[in-house]
């Protein structure tokens, strides 16, 4: 029997699922091997058990975490798909602001005042913290990045289908810049989070003339202290550095420091 694969989305742009649909050249071959039972971007069909559940998006409301717990109980493997599911992505920046202040920033003062007397005014009010999937359930594998990398997706699926353990080395983006003989971003007079960020993306942003903002999250061994000193030595202000650190990796490590 073919393994049952499902995609579930929470707070996200569904761009990771679209990134997968863009792999047209392999998609049909892949569908020969698996049974796709839930995929809102393409089909809607339900199943009681899933072999691999891909979770896209960050978790905001209580009902979302209940839904996630239910999916976990019915899945053999849970894969966090993309930056939102892996580390909260940009929306987790709101974790650094008091909920009421955040609400005011987004919906205005009047809405903020109204919600304080009527808690049902806007259901999103019920969320106090943007969470990654791993903060709620056990995650078997992470497919990092904004959006996720289609090659890593394939590596994972091929490994699981052939009963192997998929291998995603925890190395810095610098490794891939060297493999591509890229000019270092710092040599170009710009600054980069590559030395402390998860690679695996083939340094795609730097290959195309941009910088790394660590959308794949901070490495578990990231030397944030040394990186901070490096950024300061380039004349970047403390505030700008903090804002840069919080852009993508807010829910992970910076919230502790």
């Amino acid at each position: 029997m073919k393994p049952k694969i499902a995609f579930f989305d929470f707070a996200s742009c569904e761009g990771c699922q679209l990134a997968l649909l863009n792999c047209e050249d392999i998609l049909l071959d892949l569908l020969e091997l698996v049974d796709l039972v839930e995929f809102r971007e393409a089909i809607s069909e339900k199943s009681a058990r899933y072999d691999i559940s891909f979770i896209e998006g960050s978790i905001h409301r209580e009902e979302d975490s209940k839904r996630l717990l239910d999916i976990r109980s019915r899945s053999q493997y849970i894969v966090a798909l993309g930056a939102c599911a892996c580390n909260g992505n940009v929306q987790a920046r709101s974790n650094f602001i008091a909920p009421a202040e955040n609400y005011k920033l987004i919906y205005g003062e009047e809405a903020r005042n109204r919600v304080q007397v009527d808690k049902n005014y806007w259901p999103l009010w019920a969320h106090t913290r943007v969470r990654s999937v791993e903060e709620i359930v056990k995650v078997d594998y992470h497919l990092r990045g904004c959006p996720m990398d289609a090659n890593e997706f394939l590596t994972l699926v091929k490994a699981l289908l052939s009963n192997q353990i998929p291998h995603f080395p925890a190395h810095a983006v610098c490794v891939e810049c060297k493999r591509n003989a890229n000019e270092c971003v710092f040599d170009k007079g710009m600054s980069c989070l590559g030395p402390i960020a998860y690679g695996g993306c083939d340094a795609v942003c730097i290959n195309n003339g941009h910088v790394c903002d660590a959308c794949r999250g901070l490495l578990p061994y990231a030397n944030v202290g040394a990186h901070n000193a490096l950024m300061l030595s380039k004349g970047i202000s403390k505030e700008a550095i903090q804002s840069r650190y919080r852009l993508f990796c807010s829910a992970e490590k910076m919230s502790e420091s």
């Binding site: 392999i26 071959d29 892949l30 091997l33 394939l154 091929k158 490994a159 289908l161 052939s162 291998h167 080395p169 925890a170 190395h171 810095a172 610098c174 490794v175 060297k178 493999r179 003989a181 890229n182 000019e183 270092c184 710092f186 040599d187 170009k188 980069c192 590559g194 030395p195 402390i196 061994y221 990231a222 030397n223 202290g225 040394a226 990186h227 000193a229 490096l230």
Partner: protein
């Protein structure tokens, strides 16, 4: 072997001529401040004299990342069929500096030692090298003289020494004479298409050029390299390694840009059909935390200081014991490209000084 005299103008036309016959790599400036070995391009001006060592050393053209070791598929009878790697084309690396030439020479030693590495060696056989002697240190990071790789010419097919002052800018190319020493039969073939005159007293000309170089050439260690190696061998100097480890990102840049780092990992890549695939090898880095992690999850060098220590001992102690050559060529790449500014030159000096102090 023979020696010839020619000027930079003639050498340039010769390069373009050779490039029509085979894959020809030459250092080329990036859009920023660095250089890369890239296929020669007719718009390009030769920058052999003053170019700063390339981002990756030329040896990587012989030891490429993501190299296919073998691929396989299942035939109609259900048998697996294997084929080794990909077709290797001949290539010419020109403008290789002495430090990088020594890097290639040391890779040759390593990959020919014990069980020969056929993947490397078959590429090496198809690689010709035209090396270029340095007349001024390439930049502030250079310490090739101290690392004993200045004037190194083993492994080159042709070795070029400029016979004029390279700091004197604005001189016309045709006035800039160079000495070309042919070192191999392959070099003899290559030089045929160069417009040149035969040189009867190459050693005198070369000695004169070398004598006019700045002294000392590049940075110098606090002691001769043999003494440094002894200090590194004798004492662990943990506090020195610890001090550098505190700045280290463990990104592995120093390993990946090193002309003598040859460690790799292999990867099995299965195709979606489940019955065909390939085995590839990828550059690895001993500064990367996962490098010494083994089955079961134990890591022999979990701490960054232990990894830094290991790297220094590989370059100055372990490999020199086996191959009787220092495995640091003084090219300066690791220090130049480390984003946090860790320089192997400083580590080695500090280890030496700390061992000296502890003995006083």
């Amino acid at each position: 072997m023979n020696a010839y005299l020619s000027n930079l103008d003639q050498i340039e036309s010769w390069f373009f001529n050779l490039a029509e016959k085979q894959l020809f790599f030459l250092p080329k400036k990036t859009q920023g401040v660095n250089y890369r070995f890239e296929p020669i391009d007719h718009q390009q001006s030769l920058d052999l004299l003053n170019y700063k060592p390339t981002i990756l050393p030329p040896g990587k053209n012989i030891f490429p990342d993501d190299e296919i070791l073998f691929s396989y598929y299942k035939d109609d009878d259900g048998h697996y069929q294997f084929s080794q790697g990909v077709t290797v084309n001949s290539q010419l690396l020109a403008g290789v500096r002495a430090c990088d030439l020594k890097g290639v020479y040391l890779l040759d030693e390593v990959f020919s030692d014990g069980v020969k590495d056929s993947h490397y060696l078959r590429r090496r056989e198809k690689t010709d090298i035209i090396a270029f002697n340095c007349m001024t240190p390439c930049d502030d990071h250079c310490f090739c003289e101290a690392a004993q790789s200045l004037d190194f010419q083993m492994g080159a097919d042709i070795f070029i020494t400029p016979l004029f002052s390279t700091s004197h800018k604005g001189q016309a190319n045709e006035e800039q004479q160079c000495l070309l020493e042919v070192l191999t039969p392959r070099g003899n073939e290559l030089i045929k298409s160069l417009e040149s005159t035969e040189c009867s007293s190459p050693q005198d000309l070369k000695n004169h050029a070398i004598a006019s170089r700045p002294q000392p050439f590049g940075r110098q260690f606090s002691a001769p390299i043999e003494q440094l190696a002894k200090a590194i061998h004798q004492k662990d100097a943990d506090s020195v390694y610890q001090q550098y480890a505190e700045q280290c990102f463990s990104c592995g840049t120093c390993n990946l840009v090193c002309p003598t780092c040859y460690c790799f990992e292999t990867k099995d890549e299965l195709n979606l059909d489940g019955s065909s695939g390939k085995k590839t090898r990828h550059w690895d880095a001993c500064l990367s935390p996962g490098f010494a992690e083994v089955a079961g999850g134990h890591n022999f060098r979990a701490e960054p200081a232990a990894r830094q220590h290991h790297r220094i001992r590989r370059k100055f102690d372990y490999l020199p014991q086996r191959f009787e050559q220092t495995f640091c060529t003084g090219c300066g790449r690791c220090g130049r490209q480390c984003t946090t500014g860790i320089d192997i030159f400083n580590i080695v000096n500090d280890v030496y000084l700390s061992v000296q102090e502890s003995q006083e």
